[in-house]
């Protein structure tokens, strides 16, 4: 899609709708899990790739491009569709998601030409890698920023907090952590599994500058992303309050849709809601 910078808010909404339909189709065809985790990050991805990230499918190897790391790799159906819409690869590639001899796995493998910067799928890796890339950018005096999108369940991993300490200590204001705070992890509500609250306060106490936003509101997402770093010499954390399964009424805020793949009737109902 050309002229990404000239898009209006309703264009973003339309793209988000198309991505959700792609995600539904990919997951239904592949009988794959994680539809709820993919739906909760669609607006964040659209705002990043169509507005805020300095990336271009024409120059995927540009040394100064921004880096996006989907640390919650299981949400990759949404990333794949976003990259296809942004022109990193043909939409037909999405047909090879999760099939024998296919093109795309259920967790992303690094392919810079296709816009996939880092292999993820095991939680708790992305923020450290982002910190390493942010550190290299500082050393190289590059304006590059590194963004890592983490799940809330992922914050159970100790390595996330090792990286959080490190980034603040090294004043990596070119590193941005975005938390997809949909409040449901694999086996239950985050509040009931291992409580994260006060979540913004935790990041703050680790030396990060934090903002909380509605992760489905484009105006909020964009105005927030356009202000990073929130403070010079400090890494930025965005706690994005989201809804697991966002966009399909019977999937929203339901633990079931972390793993469940829709059957035919559910698929048709979902498609109708997304049309």
């Amino acid at each position: 899609m050309a002229g990404a910078n000239e898009l209006q808010m309703n264009d973003y909404e339309n793209i988000a709708g198309e991505i959700r339909r792609d995600v539904l189709n990919m997951i239904y065809r592949a009988k794959a899990p994680h539809i709820g985790s993919s739906f909760s990050i669609v607006e964040l991805l659209v705002a990043l790739y169509f507005r805020c990230l300095s990336v271009s499918p024409d120059r995927p190897q540009d040394e100064n491009r921004d880096i996006f790391i989907l640390s919650k790799g299981h949400g990759c159906p949404a990333l794949y569709s976003t990259l296809a819409h942004r022109g990193f690869f043909s939409p037909s590639v999405l047909n090879g998601f999760g099939v024998d001899g296919g093109t795309l796995e259920l967790h992303p493998t690094r392919d810079v030409e296709a816009g996939i910067e880092v292999s993820t799928g095991s939680l708790g890796h992305g923020l450290s890698i982002g910190a390493g890339m942010a550190l290299a950018a500082k050393y190289d005096r590059s304006k590059r920023k590194a963004f890592a999108l983490l799940s809330d369940g992922e914050l159970n991993e100790g390595s996330v907090w090792e990286a959080a300490l490190f980034a603040a200590h090294h004043k990596l204001d070119n590193l941005i952590a975005i938390v997809d705070y949909n409040k449901i992890q694999a086996l239950g509500k985050t509040q009931e599994v291992v409580s994260l609250e006060p979540l913004a306060g935790k990041w703050r106490s680790f030396g990060w500058e934090v903002e909380e936003i509605d992760g489905h509101n484009f105006e909020q997402i964009i105005s927030t992303l356009e202000r990073v770093p929130f403070q010079q010499q400090k890494p930025s954390a965005i706690v994005a309050h989201t809804v697991k399964g966002k966009g399909v009424s019977f999937m929203e805020n339901e633990l079931l849709w972390h793993y469940r793949c829709p059957d035919e009737a559910e698929y048709r109902r979902a498609l109708q809601e997304l049309s």
């Binding site: 493998t109 690094r110 910067e117 880092v118 292999s119 993820t120 799928g121 095991s122 708790g124 890796h125 923020l127 450290s128 890698i129 982002g130 910190a131 390493g132 890339m133 942010a134 550190l135 290299a136 950018a137 050393y139 190289d140 590194a146 100790g158 390595s159 090792e162 990286a163 300490l165 490190f166």
Partner: protein, 307 residues
Amino acid sequence: MRSTAIKTLEKHCATDSSIFLLTADLGYRIFDRFRNAYPDRFINVGVAEANMIGIAAGLALSGKNVYCYSIVPFLTMRCFEQIRVDLCYQNLNVKMVGVGGGLSYALEGMTHHAIEDISILRSLPNMTVVVPGDALEVEAIMNEAATYNGPVYIRLGKDGCPQVHRTMPDLKIGKGIVIKEGGGLSIIANGTMLHTAKIVSDTLASRGLSVTLISMHTVKPLDGELIKECARNSRAIFTIEEHSIIGGLGSAVAEVLAESSYAGLFRRIAIPDAYGRDIGRVEYLREKHGLAPEAIINDILRDYKQC
């Protein structure tokens, strides 16, 4: 060994501005010079090995030539999955320099002993595993590693390991070194056991046996051709290593021999599959594990007489 490694790295830093050195808060004083010379490229990440590997991956993805340093179990086992996914799956240019191979940190106890590392690391695709046998091999390997693109695990002993080579060996990663060429009895050793293996082979030679001694400093990719050549010329092959008997050099050599037509004797001399409870300095622990020169000589003579 480790001061040689750091000195050699320092030398490469002067000409390669992409080199970064990370440590997880270990290596007291040995980095002082490096740190003064290259303050921007020396990073103590703190006691956080998993984060260290992730940071290293991020630096490598940005075109840096990265070295990570710690004591072996913390460097390789605490963060094994980061090594697997971030470094090996993505095939990144990160060298892991581990100090304290085998029983080197003897009195520190089991937490600091490194007896399973080679086994687990050589199972990782894309990973290269090198185990230098003296300071000259360390220097040669650090020279090779500087321009070697991909993940490498370099397993060191401690400082004060005795010299085996008199002059700088012609060392290539993946090619074993024939230290002494002999006849029907071959000894393949590496790392902190290379010097012991030299004593053993000299002693056996003085008793009239014709011994071949090989430094198999690279366990992966293993020099299968050299092992097969050795098999053609030997009636008995012994491996000696300071590692568990499961999965290390002995196992790697056994894998080659088992798929060859070798019909001679083969024995692995290594640490038994157990966590020892003995307390003592490294020589004492080696003796307890049957790795002292006298014990090895007796084992070899006993087995060799049967073949």
